[in-house]
Symmetry: C2
């Protein structure tokens, strides 16, 4: 038989069907542009950790090897070290969850792997899943690998319109959707917080319709104004809850976790065995040491103060520079503001904005269905107040030019 | 509507179809038993890193934070730091690959994540994939999440029977299988090495039938006797090649990699965005420092010497204690010996063996189709020569009792 030469065309015929529906990340694709020194980036959700006490973290890293010994360098169990899962429980006490059993906690490679594993465990191609509209683009991406049918529920100033979810559930019937994915605190991308009343109603609906809730809470500790609202997991142990150290310590550790009922835990554990065998042992040990042996809460308090100033700087700049017809959210915490400019195609505008030296995430990236065309996600976490003001000025210029 | 209470039965009706065909890991399930102090474990493939110079690694960890600064703690790019991908290229020179472009290298969370991502990118449910029979149980597990049809090709002392693969390919036709997965050096679980002649023939078949090769090489540097054989990737850039630091440094780092043609790289990058956004930055920095700034090759040489002694101890014990009708492989490197005892159901025997204080991996775990019932994978990597001898004595007793 004649030998074949591998060509791009030949490869492209070999890939699995799921690759054609798998979403790309608007943020990841902007990563390189965002690294250019002339660009002010409002696109990434990278925490501003420049004030992290490096000598403290270096000691944590060194101690992790010296005190834990070779165990820190060896393979670990699939759900992770029980010591680190206990640290996750300690952290969650501050989120309003005081009764989590570490045996129900599974460590993941950031909360992103948690989303992937939950998608793998629950979603058959064509299954309906609910999420907020707009929602976290990384969740769209993770779940899309399993080819669900996304139903995005509109939001208002109190978060997901749970009444609209109920309407959809009533039409669909009991047990017909796989889960509802929700970021109740300072949602990504809108910054909006789900009200206490709606959280309770969502839990009721979860039981009326047999619809599991995935409660993703990466930003809960980053509240700048207003009072904390109890997580749904605190009154319903069936809620699947996601946490992470990415925003309160370091994303480079890739330590997140899932709190799950035992039935779900067993399935996710099974899926994770094939996915990566186990997470990084040494990173788990470092997280243990950081949260046990350092003044992490004062480091976090400094961070929160800094983020609050940045939010305020961005809001002021939006008022000063953005056109009057634009609307934008006023988050009580987190990293993001969601702005909408009637008549502007924000995706088309991105090139103009780049030319003006600023990036953002076009709103369409945060919907699975083409909505969000006049909106954008702008992050206030990573740049100084001065840069944020300059960035919003540049954005306003870009809008002007785009008209 | 009446509210539902979540029950185990209710949950079990919610999971995706793929969960019912997803394989469990015999090794992971033995993890707890293997940790009991009275047990000598021949089941895990854990490297013996007790002689790892902890002070050196602690300095590496500390330096990674101090010299790299906050970049070591931040999110990274999806394929990983280019510096660490260059280190992977440096390591591969010692494996016989001198011309790898770091742009074609993607870092993964151990080579296990590489298997998962390749499964995700290539496999539609029902697709045929080829592997050695028996093969690495973690590969069976990773690929099974994507519901392929496994075709296991029998092996002999020279590795996969490439002639039998050719027969199957001839029947199946060109472009009808997604890939062949192969561990050419000191294969897991048999310890057998694919001969040079067969490697070349496999590459020819890959071109005749449009069948991509996945060449997994975790053990290549752990050769105790005989001469190295060039990897297939060294004469065909279409070969997808997997590497890892798990066996030459520390599995707890979870740093592996894939070398891929650009077309495959783009797809895997896309899949990895949704899977975990990025790997651990700090672990990548630690790997850079370890392989740049320490005497890692002399640490490895000590390890190799130790493993060679252990292999010899196990082979001698097998000759001394195992029944005459038993057969076993005589690997030139790696971690594993494959033993077959006619008339013994090794899976049933596992409980007896545990009662005798020894674990192993039953052969059926290394096949997707129920074969391997009279075989077992026994690892000589982790226990001292004395313990290995005692373990084989116990195993022989268990065999006696099982008769």
């Amino acid at each position: 038989m004649e030998a074949l030469t591998y060509t791009p065309e030949m490869w492209s015929g070999m890939f699995a069907d799921r690759m054609s529906t798998m979403r790309k990340s608007a943020v990841r694709d902007l990563f390189e542009a965002a690294a250019r020194p002339d660009i002010i980036s409002l696109s990434g959700g990278m925490p501003e950790i420049s004030s992290m006490p490096l000598d403290v973290v270096a000691r944590v890293a060194s101690d992790s090897v010296l005190k834990e010994g070779v165990a820190a360098l060896q393979y670990g169990t699939t759900p992770g070290r029980i010591e680190c899962r206990r640290v996750a429980c300690d952290i969650m006490v501050g989120d309003g969850l005081s009764d989590i059993d570490p045996e129900n906690v599974m460590l993941t490679s950031g909360a992103q792997q948690a989303l992937d594993l939950l998608g793998r465990v629950f979603i058959n191609p064509g299954d309906v899943i609910f999420c907020e509209g707009p929602t976290y683009l990384g969740a769209l991406q993770a779940f899309s690998a399993y080819q669900p049918e996304f139903h995005c529920i509109e939001m208002d100033g109190d978060g997901m319109r749970v009444d609209l979810l109920e309407e959809e559930l009533r039409k669909l019937g009991r047990g017909k959707a796989k889960f509802v994915y929700c970021i109740p605190n300072f949602q990504n991308p809108t910054g909006v917080t789900l009200s206490d009343e709606r959280r309770h109603r969502l839990v009721e609906l979860s039981h009326e319709y047999g619809l599991p809730i995935i409660e993703d809470n990466p930003y809960g500790r980053l509240r700048y104004t207003g009072d904390p609202i109890a997580p749904m997991r605190s009154y319903d142990p069936n809620v699947i809850y996601l946490g992470t150290v990415s925003k309160i310590f370091a994303p480079g550790m890739r330590i997140g976790w899932i709190v799950m009922p035992p039935e779900v835990f067993a399935k996710v554990n099974h899926a994770k065995q094939g996915g990566d065998l186990c997470g990084s042992t040494i990173n788990q040990v470092m997280v243990e040491h950081y949260f046990h042996d350092t003044e992490w809460e004062s480091v976090l308090a400094t961070l929160v103060k800094k983020y609050a100033e940045r939010r305020d700087a961005m809001l002021t700049a939006l008022e000063d520079f953005f056109p009057k017809e634009a609307t934008f959210t006023r988050p009580d915490g987190g990293f993001f503001i969601w702005a909408t400019i009637p008549g502007i195609d924000t995706k088309k505008m991105l090139d103009v904005a780049l030319a003006h030296g600023v990036t953002f995430v076009p709103g369409v990236g945060c919907y699975p269905d083409g909505r969000g065309g006049e909106s954008m996600r702008i992050a206030f976490c990573y740049e100084s107040p001065e840069n944020l003001r300059e960035a919003i000025r540049r954005l306003a210029d870009a809008i002007q030019e785009q008209r």
